[in-house]
Structures are given as C-alpha cells and as structure tokens.
Symmetry: C2
Subunit: 333 residues, 2 copies
C-alpha cells in the first residue's frame, strides 16, 4: 500500500492535525515508459506553507484532495523506462507519499556514494541552490562585503553564510537560541551570530557590523527585516528569499516600514525563486559538491522518521525546533 498525505483543509494560521489526512491506496501499476519510485526522504520546507494558500503565486497551489507537494529523494524499484534502470536514486518533487509513478520528467539522478541522500534535498538540493544563486546572481556578492543572513541556521541560511565566507566576506547570522548561534560560529565559521529570541536585534546588528550591511539575505521577514533596513550600507542588496515569520499570519502582514532606507542608501530589495536557475543547477551542484569534498561546506540535515509524523515534524519549521535542513525519512533504502 502507498501511504499518502492529502491536503484536506486549507489552514488559517499554523496548520493543524486536520489540515491533512493520511490515506492508504494501492501502489499504482506502471506502464511502458514509466518508473515506480520508492521514496526515502521527504524535504520539509517553509515554501510548502505558501503552496497551501489558494492565491496566485510562482507555482499553482496544492488543491484540496491532492497529495501535499514536497521535494524528495527516492529509489527506482520498478522500471519500464529503458533510460532509468531499477536501483537508480532520483531527486524530484515526489510529494508526501511513499510511492510515486513517473515518466521520469522532473527527476534527476543522485549518487549516494558522493553524498548522503538527504544532502540532495539539502545543500545539494533546492536550499543549497537558493543560497548559491541568491548570493551570486541576485545579490551579485563581491569579495570583502558584509553579509547578514536571517534564518541562518536553516537549510538556506546556513549555506548562504558558508558560501559568503568562501567568497571572502564577513558573515553574521541571525538565529533563534544560543545553541544555534554557537553552531553558526563554531561549526560553520560565521564571524558572528545574533540570537533574535534573547538579544536586542538592532543593538546587536550594530555591534556585529558597525559599518553596516552590504548584502542582507532574508528568510524571515517581519520586524527583523525591518530592523535590518535601518542598518544597510549604500548600494546594499536585500535578497527576498522567504518570510517564514509571516507565513502563518492570520492578520495582514506588516510591511517593512523602513523601506525608504532603500532610497537613502540607493539600495535594492529583490525577490527570487530558485526554479528560475534550473538550467544552471548542475554547474552549481558541481561547485558545491567540490566545496563539500574539500570540507569547506557543511550540509546539516535534521532527519525525523515516519510519514505518520509529518505534521509534527512540519511544525518544527515554524517553531524553530530543528537544526539545519528538516527532512522526513519515510522508508529504508
């Protein structure tokens, strides 16, 4: 049987247990040209909260009754497609379910001998690509700049900071709690870390980067973004990658009231969607893989188990109770 997590109700605010229903259906039969993928790891990402909203966005919303969309890594266990032999490991958007039938489109081979499978939905997957293209293509990062990143201990933020360090920048991360802050500095080599749950953000931003911020990579939005706006330097670039603090809002979002700092500082705020860079994923993954092999880039995944535990695990994205990339293991290899 194939356990599938179905979106059963659009949540207001934080998703609740009844947002989804876990259903069991027979594993589908494959036809000529198709493959059957047994999913191993499911990617849990803040963007998924956006996909649940019934609004026009960069991707159509998940419909009620559909399997919840999610990135994943799996293994081909049956194949009627001569190009994809059984035993191939693939990464794609398999959704929150145990088995997927596909013609192969949108699935990319990954090699568990080069990196652990969860890394392909972490630093070598969408979060890593987001960090890479956000910094290098959107922000057009230059050596020696001051980089600040919010959600710094998360899947994207942790890679942002590490790439910025590799590019010769000063890096300060914003994260929740002393443990994460210690991790940023001691394990990932950040120059500084701000604990937004326990420290006065504006003062700490000033103390960590007295001469201001050149690149602010934003994953959280809200008051932290608004405060960062008061600390940008001339010609700063703010990359709008996400706004996790706002995703479960039931009240209207508060906009960044300090946006006129963009004028004063001739700065820009620019949004990005990683899918736009798909044609260059390969190149980026090669560079990132190289850095990982040289131990210059670390990927950290926080792996939980069991598709039954999807809901509780998903909520860790918003409570912050996780370290690095949040992954749900749904089956043994």
């Amino acid at each position: 049987m194939n356990k599938q997590l179905i979106l059963s109700k659009r949540p207001e605010g934080l998703p609740k247990a009844d947002t989804w229903t876990l259903e069991e259906h027979p594993i589908p039969k494959i036809k000529d040209g198709e493959i059957l993928i047994k999913q191993l790891y499911i990617s849990l990402d803040p963007a998924m909260r956006g996909w649940m909203r019934d609004v026009k966005s960069y991707i159509p919303p998940v419909q009620i009754g559909e399997v919840m969309r999610a990135g994943s890594v799996g293994k081909v266990i049956q194949s009627k497609n001569p190009n994809i032999p059984e035993g191939t490991y693939l990464s794609g958007t398999g959704g929150v379910q145990q088995y997927v039938v596909s013609g192969g489109k949108g699935w990319y081979p990954v090699d568990p001998k080069l990196a652990p499978l969860p890394t392909y939905i972490g630093a070598l997957g969408m979060p890593g690509m987001t960090a890479y293209f956000g910094l290098l293509e959107v922000a057009k990062l230059k050596e020696g700049e001051n980089v600040m990143v919010s959600g710094a201990a998360g899947a994207v933020g942790s890679v942002v900071g590490q790439i910025a360090k590799l590019k010769g920048c000063k890096v300060v991360g914003i994260a929740g709690g002393p443990e994460k802050c210690r991790y940023l500095i001691e394990e990932l080599g950040f120059d500084g870390a701000i604990d937004y749950k326990n420290e006065p953000i504006r003062d700490r931003m000033k103390a960590e980067m007295p001469d201001g911020i050149d690149v602010y990579f934003d994953n959280v939005g809200g008051e932290i973004l608004n405060t960062a706006l008061t600390r940008i330097r001339r010609h700063a670039r703010i990359v709008i990658c996400g706004a996790i603090s706002q995703y479960n809002n039931t009240e209207p979002t508060k906009g960044p009231s300090n946006y006129m700092s963009l004028l004063v500082n001739r700065a820009r705020m620019e949004g990005m969607v990683v899918f736009d860079y798909a044609k260059d994923y390969g190149k980026a993954a090669m560079q990132m893989g190289q850095w990982m092999a040289e131990d210059k880039l670390k990927s950290k995944e926080d792996v939980y188990e069991g598709i039954e535990n999807f809901h509780e695990t998903f909520l860790r994205l918003f409570s912050g109770e996780k370290m690095g990339k949040l992954v749900l293991k749904v089956d043994e290899d």
Copy 2:
C-alpha cells in the same frame, strides 16, 4: 536687505507657519573670488520635507536657525570672480532667500534664451534629471514596457511619463482629481490616468494595465505603492523616488505589506538619489532640451510669487493644489 526664511522649529506632521521665521539681514559683501546672486526662482520640492527631519539621510538635515535649503535659479549681480561675469544666470542650491554669496561651486550656468528660467528647476533641473536617470538607469526601461507612475502630474512624474512615451512604452499616471488626469492624457499624451481621490485604485490599475506593470515609478508611497505591488509583472522594477504621502506622518509609516510580491514576481524595488548622477546631468539635459525643442517633452511650472508666501505655497506640495513643478518667484529679473 536680504530676506531669508529660517528654519525655526522642527515640525511634527505638516509644517506650520511657526516652522519658519522670515528674517531680514543686510546683503553680504563679496570678497575676491566670490559672486553675489540675486535669486529669481526658488524650487519647492517634496524632498525638502525630508531635509527638515533630524535623522541621518542622504544629505545632512537643515539645522534650526539655518536658511531653509532649496534649489533655485538666480542672476549674478556682482562678481569678483573672473570666471563668472555679472549678468550670468545660474542654477544651484541657493536656499529660500533673496541673495546668496558664493564662490561659484555647485552653481551651473543656465541660458534663458534656450528655456524659461523656471524650467531649469523643472524638467531641465533636479526633477527632470530624477525622471531621466530613474527610468533609464535605475529601472533600465525597455521599449514596449508597461510603465505606471504615481504623483504623475508632479514635477518628476510628468517627465517620467513623457520620457516613457518617448521610449515607446505604455504609460498610465496616478494623480489626484479629474483635472490632473485630463491633463496627463490630453496634454502629456499618457495612455491612461487614474484619479486616486475618486476612483478605486486597484480596479483601475487592473483595467488600465490588465497585463500588469513592468516599471512602477513611485513618488508617493503608502497604500498606492502597496496596491501597485499586487499588479507587477515578472521582473518588474519599482523605482523608489519618494513617498510624499508619508512625509508628514506623525504615526509610524505603514510599510508595503505586499512586498512578498517581489519574490513571487522576481521583481526588485530600488531607491535612488538623483545627486549620484551629477556627472551625467549635462548629457541628460542636452537630450531633454532637444526633446523640448522638438516639442516632444513639456515642462509645466506652477509659479507663485513672493518669499513671504513660502509657507502657504510649500503646503501645496502636500495638498496637491498645484499643477506640475511648484516654483516660487522671489524677485524680478
């Protein structure tokens, strides 16, 4: 005697009569290398409201007791500077006063035979330069794009719209009242106009540009900017030039809560300060002058008289009771 308008008090909200004091002082004597300028036209600009605030910005604030800063056009009536003969007309930042002594730095010769003097603080002055560089350098306008501009009947907005038309774009302006809207379409050749005082903005934006906005040139901020954010197209550029709706706020500014549209649309919001383009003013003015000579670009100034009337005239910037560039004539040529 030299009548000078002194900033006597920092206003909260809209400036009041006691924000300034009109003082009379002897006309200063000039020394070797200096010139005495009799000011003829004073430029009244929304940016002046910002210069009165005691905060760090792109230019130091005007201090209490100082002559209020303002752009101006005047005539050299005494000269001990061999490079600037008597009778020369100059444009510079002479402040709200009748006479200025200067070494000449920051003053540029203007020719009343080529254009009326007030035009040199209008389309051929800072507002025109702002429009020119904002569209062409910041927004990197492309032929055929959809351009929307707020404060469209103002000094900057009216030039933005006309340049965009000259560049083969579709142009819609936002202005207050039917008279201004008629003016935009009938006199300046805009494709459409939205009367924000009397029309539902979102619906009208949609009706005028059903396929969305490529370049939004913002002079007003507030709810109109926030609504425009819901109407941008992919890769849109929002030029942050001003936020006149917010300058007299006594409550905290409301930020653009729809800023996540920047992400969805891979768009950017970028601030600008015209002074950054000073080295290219000459080139731009030549192009603009050419367009004016060919009757392809109109400069409209709304000229009021008398330095005594500065306060009432200045308030027209915020009430909108003016058409085009607001100018105060302070003396006869």
